[in-house]
């Protein structure tokens, strides 16, 4: 059901772990829904010099975390912000429709980590261009766990 690329990133996940004194952290998901993603960023001169993750979740969630951290390394914050969930899924050579949610989680994790950094810097957080309908934490009911 998964592409070779997804299986590769699941079995050999890149950038697993945490960063000591990270510039920004993004924690998204909910254990009740079966997935939690933590993204850690090291940012120097507006460039992401290191990105790591810790994820509780299915194969697609782990692969999406791995690919997302790969895609944003070396990017400016503006470039990283513009990496959509579709870009993560495409880089993984596709995700099954029921698992697209995992790539959304990765995009949200990056955005949250970037805004965490901006807040720490005393900057206005950037606003989501296309807020996804099923943000786990704010949604009290309805489409919370969209696997």
């Amino acid at each position: 059901m998964y592409s070779d690329k997804v299986m590769d990133h699941f079995k050999n996940p890149r950038n697993v772990g945490e960063i000591e004194n990270p510039s920004g952290v993004g924690e998204v998901g909910n254990p009740v829904c079966g997935d939690i993603m933590n993204i850690y960023l090291k940012i120097e001169n507006n460039v992401i010099t290191d990105a790591k993750f810790k994820t509780f979740g299915c194969g697609a969630a782990i692969a999406s975390s791995s690919m997302a951290t790969e895609l944003i390394r070396g990017k400016t914050l503006e470039e990283a912000w513009d990496i959509s969930n579709k870009a993560v899924a495409e880089a993984l050579e596709g995700l099954p429709p029921v698992k697209m949610h995992c790539s959304v989680l990765a995009e949200e994790g990056i955005h949250k980590a970037i805004n965490d950094y901006r807040k720490k810097q005393g900057l206005e957080p950037w606003v989501e261009k296309n807020p996804h309908s099923h943000d786990h934490e704010e949604d009290g009911e309805g489409l919370t766990c969209q696997h």
Binding site: F10, V32, G34, I36, K54, T55, F56, G57
Partner: protein, 399 residues
Amino acid sequence: MGEKRIIYMDHSATTYVRQEVVDAMAPYHTENFGNPSSIYRIARASKKAIDTARAQVAQALGADADEIYFTSGGSESDNWAIKGIASANIRKGSHIITSQIEHHAVIHTCQYLEKEGFTVTYLPVDRYGLVDPADLEKAITDKTILISIMYANNEIGTIEPIAELGAIARNHKIPFHTDAVQAVGNVPIDVNAQNIDLLSLSAHKFYGPKGVGVLYIRKGTKIDNLIHGGGQERRRRAGTENIAGIVGLGKAIELATADIEGHNKKIQAMRDRLQKGIIATIPSTHLNGHPEKRLPGNINISFEFIEGESMLLWLDDEGICASTGSACTSGSLEPSHVLLATGLPVEISHGSLRLTLGNINTDADVDFVLEVLPKVVTRLRDMSPLYKKSGKDGGCNVQ
């Protein structure tokens, strides 16, 4: 990759077909292919083969041959029992009692009937998955027309007090159906001693072929047909008989019920060793289901801080076939309704693993799983943000 050994521990999903069963079926694909409704010789051979299979099933259940009806499998049998009883008894009442942990073939059928105006009571279960007979007694009303409680649960393996539940139904003169798909070959069944009026079973759970099952219907039970058409199965179930399948089912049930005790002893010894080994080597686990009243081959354990599908993918990579109650493999929003009904927290339900042992397994298989599984769990916990936060042995207490 192709040469990797397969360790199959998913016998509750399906079993391989025993060689004796394959051999018994073979002639009915080739020389004896006649339609049993025809009158020439090869058709008579088909007819005779079905009669033999019917007698084999009757013998296994302690029933009469003319109470055995062949179907396409467990789902059809469950649908027939529930919809057939419901529509035949609509003038008497429209209340059905079942449990919260039934297979979807029962639950979704009941939900369909709710949309059609029936009322359904879904009895709760305790933390081990057992239905309390006192709850059944309390739920019965003068409108109750059917009670359907599974014999043994497919996920957690818990065996329900069927004879006792059946006796309550009998006292109230309400037909009692049991989905015994997981029970056949693992538990001795006697429809008379256990007060069962309708029973569903499926051949591919006891080393028979897929696509063939049985609904046992006690004589005198008022039930409508589900499949309308020709006059097969004594005008109760239309459709040209799946002769080879029926022959296979008959042979398989004969073999599966010949020595249940011996079979269980062997499987249970392996299961117990595997279960103890897992719990001893991996911390923060939770055994689901009843410690004793359970199917001999069933293990269902939740591992905190990790998710089931990623466990299955790693096990598959090592050639181990297993299953999980995590939502991530079902395509639905919720993890297993069975685990939730036992009161297991949602986040821990996502980390459940079901291993079901069967005839194909050996002690070497048990050793291999005991070697591989702890590594898989450690690997996934190492990348789980929940693990670190929980401390050494805290619960899954994030958020």
